[in-house]
């Protein structure tokens, strides 16, 4: 579904990504972890071309992301993305957040978009909040709306960039629960997270990044059993302490 082949990216003279290669098969859940600044966000944003890259190739469902003639809006509409800071549109109601792109990008009627939005709000347990504005919701609720907004586009894959790291601890689980359900339904997911409980529960593979390189790319069992690199072991011992 998602194939990342030898991606390299520079910010000026600074190399953020070095020859990164990995893949996410249909229905697969891949967790990406690594120290701060290792390039996780940058890599995941390359997948839907929110960040350009200078070398290598990424294809999503066979479509090359970097190619000049790719219809990027069309491609992006098929890939859901959830951000660390939710990025809900604060000037729009929860329902408008869910319907905007359905109407503008997919050409759905307002009625159809609203029906879809209502069903998804129900699913993430926020049916009662449709008319509210994002600022009136808790962080956990906002992130669930953000997931519903992405799902409203009927994506073929979902990207998550540290979806729980801006949340208070007591709200992390309500978001993870939604993600676990999604994974169990067979959604293709690429998830940057340090929630190793989530990785243990639903991930198929774990990718470990450090200094812009993919150091480790292994099935979950292998990764938690015996990560081969010293850097991965060090990282795991650090985050599993708490």
């Amino acid at each position: 579904m998602i194939a990342i082949n030898n991606i390299s990216k520079w910010y000026g003279g600074f190399r953020v990504l070095t020859d990164c290669s990995t893949a996410v098969a249909k229905g697969e859940v891949v967790v990406v972890c690594g120290p701060s600044g290792s390039g996780k966000s940058t890599l995941i944003k390359c997948v839907n071309a929110l960040e350009p890259f200078q070398q290598g190739e990424i294809t999503v469902d066979g479509v090359s992301v970097g190619a000049k003639d790719t219809d990027l809006p069309k491609l992006r509409a098929r890939i859901g993305m959830v951000f660390q800071n939710f990025e809900l549109f604060p000037h729009l109601s929860v329902m408008e957040n869910l319907t905007l792109a359905q109407i503008k990008v997919l050409g759905r009627t307002p009625e159809a978009a609203t029906a879809k939005g209502a069903a998804l709000l129900e699913r993430v347990g926020l049916a009662a909040h449709a008319a509210k504005f994002p600022g009136q919701l808790s962080g956990g609720q906002q992130q669930r709306v953000a997931i519903a907004r992405a799902l409203a586009m009927d994506p073929i894959a979902m990207l998550f960039d540290e979806p729980t790291s801006a949340l208070d601890p007591e709200m992390i689980n309500e978001v993870l629960d939604v993600m676990v359900d999604l994974a169990k339904e067979g959604m293709t997911m690429m998830v940057v997270t340090h929630e190793m409980g989530f990785a243990r529960k639903v991930a198929h593979r774990v990718v470990f990044m450090d200094k812009g390189e993919i150091v480790e790319d292994a099935p979950k069992e292998d990764f938690f059993g015996k990560p081969r690199s010293e850097r991965a072991q060090l990282f795991l011992s650090k985050i599993l302490q708490h």
Binding site: K45, N48, L50, L72, P73, K74, L75, R76, A77, R78, I79, G80, M81, F83, N85, E87, L88, F89, P90, H91, L100, A101, K104, V105, L106, G135, R149, A150, M153
Partner: protein
Amino acid sequence: MGDLDFEIIGRALPYLAGGLRYTFQLTLVAATGGVIFGTLLAMARLSSFKPLALAAAGYVNLMRSIPLLLVIFWFYFMMPVLLQSLTGAERPPQIGAERSAYITFVMFEAAFFCEIMRAGIQSIAKGQAGAGYALGLNYWQVMGKIVLPQAFRNMLPILLTQSIILFQDVSLVSLLNVTDFVGAAVKVAQRDSRVVEMYLFVAVVYFVLCFALSAAVKRLQLRIAIVR
């Protein structure tokens, strides 16, 4: 100062009201047009297409470096000549002082509103646009539906404050012999030799209006701050 005759104001009121109406009209048109063109200029200045960004920056800096009065004169006296040489007409086309004033003010204000809207656009976190693009929206949709509404809302108090300044600046058109509020007062003052009364009256009206509008903007500013 013994023989002030304030009844002159009552007699001249309909004429003065006509001038005030024109002042409001010109303010409204210049503010609306200025915000629209200013927003487009701001988008151009922030464009990654360098020639466009440079051209917009050049225009804005030029307008902001020339006194408004000079722009008004320049446009009124030079534009017909310029148009004549461009079209090769026999005589300079007549634009007329009022129409010239509308065009000048829209063009001039656009440069100032551009800088306000540019700051407004930059005040919206990049992640907001990113979220829009990630949903498949294109540049114009991201701007029109996500970035600009928020930028406009954040900048509304400053846009209105600039419009109050504009309301005062509009009086400069009286130098083109246009009958705005000040222009009307000048004409009455000269006709009836009642300079002190008329100029006092005009100043009081400007003060009351601008003071009240500024107070309203302050209240709006507080309300926006609370909502956010």
